[in-house]
Amino acid sequence: MSHHYRINGSMIQQYSGKPVSIIGTVSKVHPSGNVIDLETSDKQHIVVRSSENVNVESGSIIEVLGNVDNRNQIECDMIVAFEPEQTANFDMDMYNQAVMLFQHYPQDYLVNL
């Protein structure tokens, strides 16, 4: 498993072609079953495409692991779903700020590039 950059919606363009991890709220699941509209921590909307049927509920908070394609959409490898108790009081704003921290302190948030 290679290093995945933790990003939000406004960072998508910067990370084109790179593996990313995004935590967000499922806004809509397309009728096809394998495309999701995800609301990111900075209130932007991105499209997540999966090769398999995604089994998530609208309104739930999930983590998407995948690559940013050239259309600024996510080609998803894996979706991590959480239990309702785990996301009950999730502070999305705090998470958004944390995402900035990871970017600003590469010498402290140590990863395998």
Partner: protein
């Protein structure tokens, strides 16, 4: 110098041992304390024989706290060993060995867990022997953990910059005479007043040690306030401890 940087007993250990004669117990100095860090930190670490710990960049550790997603779980059928491969997206998978009692449900893949354990190396590969594993209670826990990784690393890096030493080497610059007193930092990380107080307390022979008044009398070049501040810093870091009351101190390393 912070506790995790020096070999020898920490202040906490010394409190327990006060009264016992530990002089005969020649234990190899090792880094104590728990480092909150990413998996990449552990996977890239090298074991240092000299420091008896694992080292990666400015970080030295033996015990770590991690959080990651279980990718693979193997539970021994008739035994108590569970082996997990976890992933925190910092690059790579880390093996966790967990000798558990039979209580609790076995943890499954695609669950986030928090692990506290010791880093070990075997056949050139690192793994962690867990003291504690728990399922993530809240996603906030994961975020807080990641932020803590940054915080811990930053603190340790700043501590290293303050002492002006290379964290990986032991610099022993001996300033003889009064010349060293003028510089704010001494090479071992203490200010002149802290150094003077600590060195004085190291000469203590009685179990009660020296009182604040006695220390001030001996170190007339510093004000009472300076001495008291130095005592507070040194006892907070574990280099000295109070004995019969809050006014008497001894050094932790004798």
């Amino acid at each position: 110098m912070a506790l995790w940087e020096q070999g020898g007993s920490s202040g906490f250990q010394q409190r327990k041992a006060a009264g016992d004669n530990d002089a005969g117990n020649a234990q190899r100095a090792s880094v104590k304390g728990v480092l909150t860090c990413t998996l990449a930190t552990i996977l890239n670490a090298k074991h240092s024989e000299a420091d008896n710990c694992f080292v990666y960049k400015h970080l030295k550790f033996n015990t770590v706290m991690l959080m990651g997603l279980i990718r693979e779980a193997n539970h021994e059928v008739n035994g108590s060993l569970a082996t997990y491969e976890i992933d925190d997206h910092s690059g790579g998978l880390l093996e966790i060995k967990w000798w558990h009692d039979d209580s609790g449900e076995p943890l499954k893949p695609l669950t986030y867990v928090k692990v506290v354990g010791q880093v070990k190396i075997f056949s050139n590969k690192v793994h962690v022997v867990a003291h504690h594993i728990s399922k993530m209670q809240s996603l906030n826990e994961l975020i807080a953990h990641s932020i803590e990784c940054i915080h811990a690393s930053m603190n340790i890096r700043k501590q290293g910059e303050l002492t002006g030493t290379n964290m990986g080497t032991n610099n022993n610059n001996h300033h003889t005479g009064g010349g060293g007193m003028h510089s704010q930092q001494v090479s071992n990380g203490f200010t002149p007043v802290q150094n003077a107080v600590l060195n004085l307390l190291k000469t203590v022979t009685s179990m009660t040690g020296y009182s604040v008044t006695e220390i001030c009398k001996q170190l007339k070049q510093f004000s009472e306030n300076q001495v008291k501040q130095a005592l507070e810093f040194l006892s907070g870091e574990g280099h000295i401890y109070s004995t019969t009351d809050d006014d008497h101190f001894r050094a932790a390393s004798n």
